[in-house]
């Protein structure tokens, strides 16, 4: 993972509530053993019609959405399936942060592991962002704040450990592997092994 301190980008808005990971990455693309190239399937059934032609009304297909790196979504984004393919697809497509009032637990955790910053924000800021697509905002990962176009900083909660991993570009596996001696000692001390 690349070290990440701040993300500055225009936003793209998908205002629907409860967008599930089956929408983000439809199930029929799950039969893959590859570790890349997930971006094409992102929101496939919302982006394309049955013949594969782009649906012009869909937010990601509008010309002004090109290059947007921050997705602002309705409540409870990423609910449903645990498929990490949803986070991979957003990442591969170029989305680097997702903002909502609430983000489902498993997706939240998957996002962090892929350098995709999940931001849970207050309702008032969220409402403003939903009604102002395309504004340039900044996510200050180190400072735990969203910086709005007028310079106002809105704090969001970020786990110190997750922040450390994002900012240093380190993954959790390295940390877990470094703790193997404690894990082994714990296993030995456990009643019944």
């Amino acid at each position: 993972m690349q070290p990440l301190e701040r993300i500055r980008s225009r936003t793209v808005v998908l205002a629907e509530d409860d967008i599930d990971t089956d929408q983000v990455f439809p199930a029929r693309f799950l039969t893959t053993i590859s570790s890349g190239g997930f971006g094409e399937a992102l929101f496939a059934d919302w982006r394309f019609d049955a013949d594969g032609a782009p649906r012009p009304g869909f937010a990601l297909n509008r010309p002004e959405a090109a290059g947007c790196g921050i997705l602002v979504a309705g409540r409870n984004f990423g609910c449903g399936s645990s498929r990490e393919h949803a986070a991979w697809a957003l990442r591969d497509y170029g989305i680097r942060a997702v903002i909502s009032t609430s983000i489902a637990d498993i997706f939240f955790s998957n996002a962090l592991k892929n350098g995709l910053v999940p931001v849970r924000i207050d309702t008032a800021t969220h409402a403003w962002l939903l009604s102002h697509p395309g504004e340039v905002i900044e996510i200050d990962v180190g400072g735990g704040a969203v910086v709005l176009p007028d310079g106002r900083r809105v704090a969001f909660a970020i786990d110190p450990f997750a922040r450390h991993c994002l900012m240093q570009g380190v993954d959790e596996l390295g940390y877990l592997l470094s703790r193997l001696p404690e894990i082994e000692a714990w296993e030995r001390a456990r009643p019944g092994g």
Partner: protein, 466 residues
């Protein structure tokens, strides 16, 4: 000493390193279940790092998600039709071999949906931590385990270290008093609970289901309730183990036997929450008020008692859901035409579900033009059902009887409905496109599914069960 809930006890017993402000807990995982869809990239990560699967004996792999449900590609040497699915199956076979992980492969009589076989084999035991790269891992909580779904990166973490980094979730007690009425099943209760909590009501929480109505449920029914916890957004759902649990485990091949069983039961009983244990949140429901439920929208929270009418809501998400479903506010669901009925999935494809379905279908035929697919949860369920003659009831009625797997619950093995069709399904998700592009899913119990199969329309199952 503080009074501890069952969740607290299980959590504490698995903390290798407790959480701190700076870092999450290192949580030990007793049992890791894995399947062909969410494991390939995790195995690839192990290869890239040159790390082995640390505790293969705590790991079990099966083939269920993209696996065909026709007999020939399973047993007959006919290749799997979908090439990418065939590659996934072959990849898990290779990974299991290379990393020394036990795989219940295509022809294995114990193969089945990952959340059906864990309990069936006796691998799922009270007090354990259990994970799988699948959100319905909450199913195993029916045995008094802490069981939750993880992403593929975390699958790799468990392979490599048998541990996960986790922040402790909050706890929510859902108490269900009273008794379910005749003709009302565990699936109806699960949908009613989600209706109460909302699809995000359980977010960040581990639910403990309790109360007289929960105690009265069989293990199969408890699994149905815990299975759906994720549809309320919860990380996990759990039920205190009791004699029903211990009886279920008796004689299962991977469960302790004899003296070891006696010792284990003593330990399992001690998992019960202490008197006065506190939960972060509480909700209560009266089981007697629950009616047969059916979903009308595109998430499991959008469900109704079967005699109800679709509500009116002004927001765009709601309107979009109804547009997709082809329904309008104020409409009754009863009487709506149904094209396909699916009995299957880790929610409702255990032997007791098939018995309920067969009892209603016996001597009847499915409606003309309707397609009905019955997919047992595991090969063992299939064999047991056939030993009772249930398969003939289904095929005589005009239904298809298949090999086990996820099948039309997720529709990636080729078992899908057609765009625009209505499917009454005993699975757990009615998301857009879940059962095929443009397919409209109505979630219901096995009884309600069979009622729809007989009449060809959404029908109250109590008309058949009296």
């Amino acid at each position: 000493m503080t009074a501890l809930s069952m969740f607290d006890k299980i959590w504490r017993a698995h903390e290798v390193v407790p959480e701190s402000a700076e870092a999450p807990a290192i949580l030990y995982i007793d049992l890791h279940l894995t399947h062909e869809v969410t494991s390939p990239q995790a195995f690839a990560a192990l290869r890239a790092r040159k790390v082995p699967v640390r505790r293969p004996e705590r790991t079990l792999a099966t083939l269920d998600h993209s696996t065909p449900t026709e007999a020939q590609p399973i047993f007959g040497g006919v290749p799997i039709r979908i090439e990418s699915a065939a590659r996934q199956v072959a990849e898990l076979e290779r990974n299991a071999r290379d990393f020394g992980v036990e795989l219940l492969g295509l022809g294995d009589a114990r193969r089945g949906i990952v959340h059906v076989i864990g309990p069936e084999l006796g691998l799922t035991q009270p007090g354990m931590t259990i994970v799988c790269g699948d959100s319905h891992t909450s199913t195993h909580g029916a045995f008094g385990t802490l069981a939750f779904g993880i992403g593929t990166t975390e699958v790799g973490h468990v392979f490599a270290t048998q541990c996960l980094l986790q922040r402790k979730p909050k706890t929510l007690a859902v108490t269900v008093e009273g008794a379910l009425a005749a003709g009302v099943g565990a699936k109806d209760l699960a949908l009613a609970i989600i209706g109460r909590l909302g699809v995000a009501g359980g977010a960040g929480q581990a639910i403990e289901y309790r109360g007289a109505a929960i105690r009265a449920l069989s293990m199969d029914e408890r699994m149905t309730v815990c299975n759906m916890s994720i549809e309320a957004g919860a990380r996990a759902g759990m039920i205190e183990p009791d004699d029903t649990t211990f009886e279920y485990l008796r004689g299962r091949p991977r469960a302790p036997q004899g003296e070891a069983r006696e010792r284990a039961i003593e330990h399992w009983r001690a998992l019960a929450g202490d008197d006065g244990a506190r939960f972060d949140g509480e909700a209560t429901l009266d089981a007697g008020a629950v009616e047969p439920m059916i979903s009308y929208g595109t998430n499991p929270g959008m469900s109704l008692p079967i005699g109800g009418r679709i509500p009116e809501r002004g927001d765009e998400s709601f309107r979009q859901a109804l547009r997709y479903m082809g329904f309008a506010p104020g409409e009754a669901l009863a009487g709506k035409a149904v094209n396909v009925v699916f009995i299957g999935s880790c929610t409702n494809a255990r032997l007791s579900d098939l018995r309920v379905a067969a009892a209603m279908l016996r001597g009847r035929r499915i409606a003309k033009g309707l397609r009905m697919l019955v997919v047992p949860g595991s090969q063992q369920v299939k064999q047991a059902a056939e030993a009772e003659g249930l398969h003939s009831v289904f095929t005589d009625a005009g239904a298809e009887w298949r090999e086990s797997g996820c099948s039309m619950c997720i529709g990636i093995n080729g078992d899908t409905a057609l765009p625009g069709q209505y499917v009454v399904s005993t699975s757990n998700r009615n998301f857009e496109g879940r059962q095929g592009q443009g397919v409209r899913t109505l979630l219901a119990s096995p009884a309600t599914a069979v009622a729809a199969a007989i009449t060809g329309q959404v029908t109250d199952p109590r008309e058949f069960t009296r």
